[in-house]
C-alpha cells in the first residue's frame, strides 16, 4: 500500500490543480457577459440619453465628475447615445492589443456609439509621453486619428527604439503632414499641456492604469475590458439583449 501512496498523492494534487483551474476558468469566462447585467429594472436603464448609468456590478466609477479642460478626440457619431471612452498609453502592450478590437467594435456599432480617446501615458514607458505628443502634434494638423492608429499598429517597432522621435517624424511624413511643423509641435508646451490635462482628468475620475475604458462616464472593471465584455456592456447600454 505504502508503495502506491506517493503516486496517489501526486494524482490527487494533479486532479486538484486541474479542478482549481477549471473553477477559475469558469469564473473568468462568466465574468464579462454575466456581470454587466444590472439588477435595476429595465425602465431605469440608461439606454436612452447620454446620462450616467446606475451603478452596475461591472463598473467601478467614477466617484467624482472629471475636472480640467476637455481635449477629447472623438470618432464616430458625435451625437450617439453611448460613449465608449479609453484612457490609453501608446506604449502599453495591452492598449496595443485592445486597439484593433476597439476599431472592430467601432465599425460594428457604427453610428450607435462614439469613441473618445484620452491620453494617460505611464512613467514606466520610455516613449509613452513622446508618442502622446506625436498624436497631438498630428492632431494640430487634423490627423490625430491617423497618427493614433499608426502608433498602435507599429507599437512593437518604435517601443524598442532607443530614440523614437525620428520614427514619429517618419510617420508624420508617411501621413503627408507638414513635417517641419510636426517636428516643432511635438516638443511644444501646448501639446505637452494637452497630454498633461488628459492625464489629470483621468486621475480625477479614478484612472489608475491603462487601458481604462469607460462607457458613458462609468469605468469598467479591468476584467470586463475584453471584446466580449465590451460588446456585452455596449449592448446593455444600447438596450439590446
Amino acid at each position: 500500500m505504502k508503495r502506491y501512496l506517493p503516486f496517489a498523492i501526486i494524482a490527487g494534487v494533479l486532479i486538484a490543480a486541474l479542478a482549481g483551474g477549471a473553477v477559475l476558468w469558469r469564473s473568468a469566462k462568466n465574468t464579462p457577459t454575466e456581470s454587466f447585467k444590472d439588477p435595476t429594472p429595465s425602465a431605469t436603464r440608461p439606454a436612452t440619453g447620454n446620462q450616467t448609468p446606475a451603478p452596475s456590478p461591472s463598473t467601478s466609477g467614477p466617484v467624482a465628475p472629471p475636472t480640467g479642460p476637455d481635449n477629447a478626440h472623438v470618432r464616430g457619431n458625435a451625437n450617439a447615445k453611448v460613449t465608449l471612452e479609453e484612457y490609453g498609453d501608446y506604449q502599453c502592450p495591452p492598449c496595443g492589443q485592445l486597439a484593433p478590437e476597439l476599431r472592430t467594435i467601432e465599425k460594428e456599432y457604427g453610428d450607435q456609439i462614439r469613441f473618445v480617446f484620452r491620453h494617460y501615458p505611464l512613467q514606466i514607458h520610455k516613449h509613452a509621453f513622446l508618442a502622446a505628443h506625436a498624436a497631438e502634434a498630428a492632431g494640430l494638423q487634423g490627423h490625430f486619428w491617423e497618427m493614433h492608429d499608426m502608433l498602435y499598429q507599429n507599437q512593437l517597432s518604435w517601443s524598442v527604439a532607443e530614440d523614437a522621435k525620428p520614427i514619429f517624424i517618419q510617420y508624420a511624413g508617411m501621413l503627408k503632414l507638414d513635417v517641419n511643423r510636426f517636428t516643432k509641435d511635438i516638443d511644444s508646451p501646448e501639446v505637452a499641456a494637452v497630454v498633461t490635462a488628459d492625464s489629470q482628468r483621468g486621475a480625477s475620475v479614478g484612472v489608475e492604469g491603462t487601458p481604462t475604458v469607460l462607457i458613458n462616464g462609468r469605468q469598467l472593471r479591468p476584467e470586463i475590458v475584453t471584446p466580449d465584455g465590451l460588446r456585452a456592456a455596449l449592448n446593455y447600454m444600447l438596450g439590446k439583449k
Binding site: K2, L5, P6, I9, I10, V13, L14, A17, G20, G21, L24, W25, A28, K29, T31, C92, P93, P94, Q97, I124, H125, K126, L156, G209, T210, P222, E223, V225, T226
Partner: protein, 157 residues
C-alpha cells in the same frame, strides 16, 4: 563495533533520513504555492483577462511583454508543469526514491537560472515588476535553497 556505537550510527542515519524527509515535504509544499500561482496566471492568460497588480504596478506590462512567451507558448503553463514536476519528484524523494532526488536537483537548478533571467528582464528591460512573477521567483529561490540544504550539507552515516 560495539552494540552501543551501532545504535548511535543507526540513530544518526535515522535523524538524517528524517531531516531529508522534512526538507522534501517543505519542497513539496512550496511547489504547491508555485503551482497555484502558475495555474492562476495560466487561466487568466487563456481567458484573455487583464491581470492587475495590487502590490507592484507592472503586471500588464510584464505579462503581455514579448518575454512572457517562448515562441507561441506562454510561460505560465510551463511554470505550472515545472512546479507539478517538482512536487512529484519531492514526494517520491520523500518516500526514498534516489533517482528522483537527483532529477529534482537538476530541475530546480534549471528553474532557478530561468527565474533569475526573468527577474533581470523585469528589472532592466521592462522596468516593471509583476507580483505573481516575483512570487514565483521567490518560491523557486526557496526551492533551490532547500534542495541545496538537502543535497550539499554534510550527512551523517
Amino acid at each position: 563495533m560495539s552494540p552501543r556505537s551501532d545504535r548511535i550510527a543507526a540513530d544518526s542515519r535515522g535523524n538524517a533520513n528524517r531531516r531529508a524527509v522534512y526538507v522534501f515535504l517543505a519542497i513539496a509544499a512550496l511547489a504547491l504555492i508555485g503551482l497555484a500561482d502558475s495555474v492562476y496566471l495560466t487561466v487568466e492568460h487563456f481567458a484573455g483577462r487583464a491581470v492587475r497588480c495590487t502590490i507592484t504596478n507592472g503586471c500588464e506590462e510584464v505579462l503581455n511583454s514579448a518575454y512572457s512567451t517562448i515562441g507561441r507558448i506562454p510561460l505560465a503553463p510551463l511554470g505550472a508543469i515545472a512546479y507539478f514536476l517538482v512536487f512529484s519528484l519531492a514526494t517520491l524523494s520523500a518516500f526514498g526514491n534516489q533517482i528522483t532526488r537527483t532529477a529534482l536537483l537538476y530541475l530546480v537548478g534549471l528553474m532557478l537560472v530561468f527565474s533569475i533571467w526573468l527577474f533581470i528582464v523585469q528589472a532592466f528591460v521592462l522596468h516593471a515588476f509583476c507580483q505573481f512573477c516575483l512570487l514565483s521567483g521567490a518560491v523557486t529561490l526557496s526551492l533551490a535553497v532547500l534542495v541545496a540544504i538537502e543535497r550539499f550539507l554534510p550527512r551523517r552515516s
